[in-house]
Assembly symmetry: C2
Homo-oligomer: 104 residues x 2
């Protein structure tokens, strides 16, 4: 899993449910992950999907998150997401205050 600096840093918690129209979704999701990785302030990302999908991305500061939100290709993907792929989503922007890790 992602190596991160000591807190504080920021997390974007994206929790979504997909609609029945998923054509093109997987390709776009992968593109957006690659694009996020290239943004200034990006620290890491983890993703899982069962009944809901949860993607947590980590950022150095809120300014970097705002720039990523407003990035042109990402904005187009967001619009496609609302028009087509997502039934619902929740985005929580959070300041990480503590981090504990365990490795076997």
């Amino acid at each position: 899993m992602t190596d991160l600096p000591d807190p504080p840093y920021y997390a974007v918690i994206f929790i979504s449910k997909l609609s029945e129209h998923t054509q093109g979704y997987e390709t776009m999701a992968e593109r957006m992950v690659e694009l996020a990785r290239s943004q200034p302030g990006f620290l890491g990302l983890e993703s899982a999907r069962s009944e809901v999908g949860i993607t947590v991305s980590f950022w150095s500061d809120r300014g970097s998150i705002q720039k990523w939100r407003d990035q042109a290709d990402h904005k187009m993907a967001q619009k496609l997401g609302r028009d087509k792929w997502y039934r619902s989503y929740d985005i929580h922007i959070a300041r990480v205050e503590a981090h504990r890790r365990y490795r076997r």
Copy 2:
């Protein structure tokens, strides 16, 4: 998905990889979700698992998170998790500053 109050509130982001020893894990995970729901300050929980498992629980304040961490049955489950079920995990404690939602 969970109805939450306006920010600020807290999120516990739990990201895990399982070991090859998963006997008893699913039952315990379900028990711990039910137990978490009954704790003071609990606001909601979402969970998904692919290559990694991600569980995000929401809490009213850090004190409630500390009490849940130290709850007796939960402490026993944490120990079993480290001894048996988890290969690795990361826990991020974060203060949610903003929340956006979309519903079709």
